[in-house]
Symmetry: C2
Subunit: 222 residues, 2 copies
């Protein structure tokens, strides 16, 4: 039987690459945010609203992970100072190597924030450190109030949890308390922000959280 | 450097296990349907409506894949003749081995249909044959009309594509023609059924498709 030898250090190499990404971004003075959720939870729409709201004082770059197409990058391109589309082919999450490749295309010193929009997937991205400083997880109202308990790893590692599309609470059965209860068993650290990118609910809270994270991190890296 | 030897035939073993599952289900005279979608597209709700509608003449079993919890199985347990929850832990899709294990818990000769509700994920499940006879892929209106192009592999392999939650078309911007156009480039074989499990739209068409698949397959296995 034919054998393939796999070097045990693959995961270690992935961790090392993530660390290297973080060091490069630290040196450049920018905060990196890994944005994760199921497909269609509103990651791109959130960034479409966030980037202009942050304004020219805190310029943003975006790395966008997708299996195929440049549809998200096409939407974000006109808003962010720079946008890099990473097509993963059949890859179910971004890897630190792909992020390193994306970062190489950017002049990092220009930016205050880099948003890394991961592939839409509630499972695999949770397992990979990309070198980000903070992790934001979105759950949209139409996905249902049972998802925190069903996909615990993703929510456990979140630094902030955003409940998106809250404008649909009026037309859908969704028990926010159930989500809060499930979160309280997994992650008491992350703030829970109820948000509608469409209507604007929660945007102030989200932008304040982002600014606070940047401040904490600037003090830390000083 | 320490090395781990990985036998090349892992994928072949997976294919063999899928083939064995299919043979067992063929021998028992039941049709197996692999139901795939993103988290929260309405797989469980669809089955909640489908199983009673199929009626006692065509009894159903369900295998439900989830990372954690028995929430879906709890919902389906009272409806299906038998329900098996498969918890995959951190596994991002069901494997043929897990399905084989699930099938061993069932007296297969009792059933006309086995629904295999895969883990909510638009990427990884597409790559694994579980031994099913047909593949059904759900896309829900709130996920957005760009998902067929962004997750092509899943839609390419579908035997039927269900657009779910069409009751939300009234409150969301969603271009059905865009989805049809994207599908026409990937998969012209699968019927496209517009469905609302909540309101009942499209259920007749879906049930007719299921009955038709069973008929075709019964003739084929005779």
């Amino acid at each position: 039987m034919k054998q393939i030898h796999v070097v045990e250090s693959v995961l270690k190499a992935s961790e090392a690459a993530a660390g290297e990404n973080r060091r490069r971004m630290d040196a450049a003075g920018l905060l990196a945010i890994n944005v994760m959720s199921a497909p269609g939870s509103g990651k791109t729409t959130l960034l479409e609203k966030t980037i202009p709201a942050l304004g020219a004082q805190t310029p943003c770059a975006v790395l966008v992970g997708d299996l195929q197409t440049t549809r998200d990058a096409d939407r974000l391109g006109p808003l962010a100072v720079e946008t890099v589309q990473i097509n993963t082919g059949k890859g179910c999450h971004l890897t630190p190597g792909q992020v390193a490749e994306g970062l190489r295309r950017l002049d990092l010193r220009q930016f205050a924030y880099v948003f890394i929009e991961n592939v839409g997937n509630m499972v695999c991205p949770a397992a990979f450190d990309l070198g980000e400083h903070v992790r934001v997880v979105l759950l949209s109202v139409p996905e249902g109030d049972d998802k925190v308990a069903k996909y615990p790893t993703l929510f456990q590692k979140a630094d902030a949890v955003l409940l998106t599309k809250v404008d649909l609470l009026e037309v859908l059965d969704f028990d926010i308390q159930r989500v809060r209860d499930d979160l309280s068993r997994l992650n008491t650290r992350a703030p829970f922000i109820e948000l509608s990118s469409k209507r604007g609910d929660g945007m102030d809270q989200w932008l304040a959280w982002l600014a606070g994270q940047r401040e904490v991190w600037l003090n830390y890296t000083k």
